[in-house]
């Protein structure tokens, strides 16, 4: 077994453009990173950052301008690598003249299953993604969420060791997102390696062992979500209910955010006990207290803004 499930080294992708294709746009620049066995890895970045480009390079839909990548020790150019990977494209679309069961059966035929195994797997996958009753309906009648579920089913149909999902939560309602999250967690429990791209940061925080943040085609940080954002607590948020008019609380209340009779107040860690005592003695009812941390979203936005500022600086100096 190789050291990492996915090893990417100096992967670069340029797209030529212009009438004679003489100009080039770099979508991905010298990406080097790895995804370990049995980990859930989130690939984060704004639209156009290079997430889908990386994934398409890994599954062989596009070819690198430079660099290499290996999945389970096999080159991405090796067709046998495809037996061990499952892939969900972004906004998947499938042959709409087929039913979900027919589509899964079609894809299963590219793997070495017996007829009985194939039929059994198709039914199991339809059940797993909650489509067992819709399996005989043509895909042209499916909603976006249902197509996403079919996409997931075809990605994990052959029990791959590595599952690569491109924006699996995109365009789904909260129920759909929850279902996709559950499937990813189940894959993790089964010991699969899961790499997925997303710009929905709470999902990444919730699911990922590690995340990589890519902005402007360059990798800006890799690590556990709490490591890369330096999650030292910033203090506590106290959520309380208060309807009195105690003058001693006026200063505190002026710093809080009010919704009806309820207030949210952020205080430093060393002031927590004193503040709680002050609120209790004034007759306020403490509803909850939560630790305030820097979020992945803040870190992400910081990187995006830095990248934009750098791009603007280059543009100005270019003039």
């Amino acid at each position: 077994m190789s050291s990492s499930a996915i090893e990417i080294e100096n992967l670069t992708k340029d797209y030529p453009f212009g009438f004679l294709h003489l100009k080039k746009k770099t979508s991905l620049e010298g990406l080097t990173m790895s995804v370990e066995h049995s980990e859930v890895f989130g690939f984060l970045g704004p639209n156009g950052a290079g997430k889908s480009t990386t994934i398409k390079l890994l599954v062989g839909l596009i070819f690198p301008t430079a660099g290499t990548a290996r999945i389970l020790g096999k080159s991405i150019n090796d067709i046998s690598m495809h037996r061990d990977i499952g892939y969900l494209p972004e906004q998947p679309y499938f042959y709409d003249y087929l039913t979900a069961a027919e589509l899964l059966d079609y894809f299963a035929r590219f793997h070495e299953f017996t007829d009985i195994e194939r039929r059994e797997r198709v039914q199991r996958m339809l059940k797993k993604v909650g489509l067992e009753t819709a399996g005989k309906i043509q895909l042209r009648k499916y909603s976006k969420g249902m197509l996403q579920r079919v996409g997931l089913a075809q990605a994990i149909l052959h029990d791959p060791k590595v599952v690569i999902l491109d924006e699996p939560m995109s365009g789904l309602d909260p129920v759909g997102r929850r279902e996709v999250r559950d499937i990813i967690l189940e894959l993790k429990r089964e010991g699969k390696t899961v790499m997925f791209s997303t710009h929905i940061l709470p999902d990444a925080e919730m699911l990922c062992d590690r995340v990589g943040v890519i902005v402007g085609g360059k990798l800006r940080g890799v690590g556990a979500p709490d490591e890369i954002v330096d999650m030292k607590p910033r203090g506590m948020e106290i959520f309380f209910e208060y309807s009195g008019g105690n003058a001693n609380l006026r200063a505190l209340l002026s710093k809080a955010t009010q919704t009806g009779k309820r207030y949210r107040l952020q205080v430093a860690e060393d002031e927590v006990y004193a503040t709680v005592e002050q609120l209790r003695s004034a007759g306020a009812k403490i509803l909850s207290m939560t630790q305030v941390k820097a979020s992945l979203e803040e870190y992400f936005m910081h990187l995006v803004e830095t990248d934009r500022a750098q791009a603007a600086a280059v543009e100005v100096s270019g003039k």
Binding site: G60, L61, H82, P89, Y93
Partner: protein
């Protein structure tokens, strides 16, 4: 090879579910109308009229399917991105292309066979069938070979250009291919030797569709030589192989956006 057959079967299933075979109804109507009318407007040449009309309809309908569906075989999959999930499976790009080609060829074969059966029913309506009518069967076979070549051309062009340009290129090459004999033998005092050499060279490179046209022989019940059957079969097989190999090379390097 199994993977090629899987793609081919799905391509055939797509054509059937997209109601491509509905053209058979149109063909049937043409043949019924022709059979009824021909007896009233022509005396003694009924067979010639029916065979010419039937083979022309088989050829035109087949060409329309070959060009328009052939061009969409790859480009539609790329536009709709149905190809993405498929190419992540253990299937090589040339296997996909060969499967698409095979699937459309199977559709055309079935379609052509059904139309040929209709033509023979119409002939039987006019007169008892005889051995000379086998020439009609050979003509139908040649149409199928021609369609295979057209599909391979459409597939090649659709691997690297837009569907509209692919249609234009395929149709252009088909029309040029009908005049290769003229290109080879054309002689004019005013033509520069270099131009004449180029025309001659082109006449060998372009697909020769003239060889597949034996409609006149079939209509007159003349026997078609076995050598021509062998020659055309070999020509179509070699030419299709070259075109599909070129399409595979191009498509295997293509980035899917």
């Amino acid at each position: 090879m199994n993977r090629v057959a899987v793609v081919a079967w799905n391509t055939f299933r797509e054509a059937v579910r997209d109601r491509v075979l509905y053209n058979l109804v149109f063909f049937a109507l043409v043949m019924i109308a022709a059979s009824i009318l021909v007896g009233q407007i022509s005396i003694g040449i009924e067979q010639m009229v029916i065979v010419t009309l039937g083979l022309s309809a088989i050829s035109v309908i087949g060409l329309l399917i070959a060009v328009f569906i052939g061009v969409g075989l790859v480009s539609k999959e790329m536009d709709k991105r149905t190809l993405y999930a498929l190419l992540a499976k253990p299937v090589r790009r040339w296997e996909f292309l060969l499967g698409k080609f095979g699937g459309l060829l199977l559709t055309l074969a079935l379609n052509t066979a059904a139309m040929a059966a209709g033509l023979f029913v119409a002939l039987r309506y006019l007169k008892p069938l005889e051995r000379a009518d086998l020439a009609v069967l050979v003509a139908v076979y040649f149409i199928l070979l021609k369609l295979a070549l057209v599909v391979a051309l459409a597939l090649l062009f659709s691997c690297y250009t837009t569907p509209l340009l692919a249609i234009l290129f395929t149709a252009g090459l088909y029309v040029s291919g009908l005049f290769v004999e003229e290109m080879r033998t054309y002689h004019s005092e005013t033509m520069a030797p270099a131009m004449r050499a180029m025309l001659r060279w082109l006449s060998y490179v372009l697909p020769n569709f003239e060889n597949f046209d034996v409609m006149a022989s079939a209509a007159h019940g003349r026997t078609i030589p076995a050598a021509l059957i062998l020659q055309n079969t070999a020509y179509a097989a070699v030419y299709c192989t070259v075109l599909l190999a070129a399409a595979s090379v191009i498509f295997s390097r293509r980035n899917l956006k």
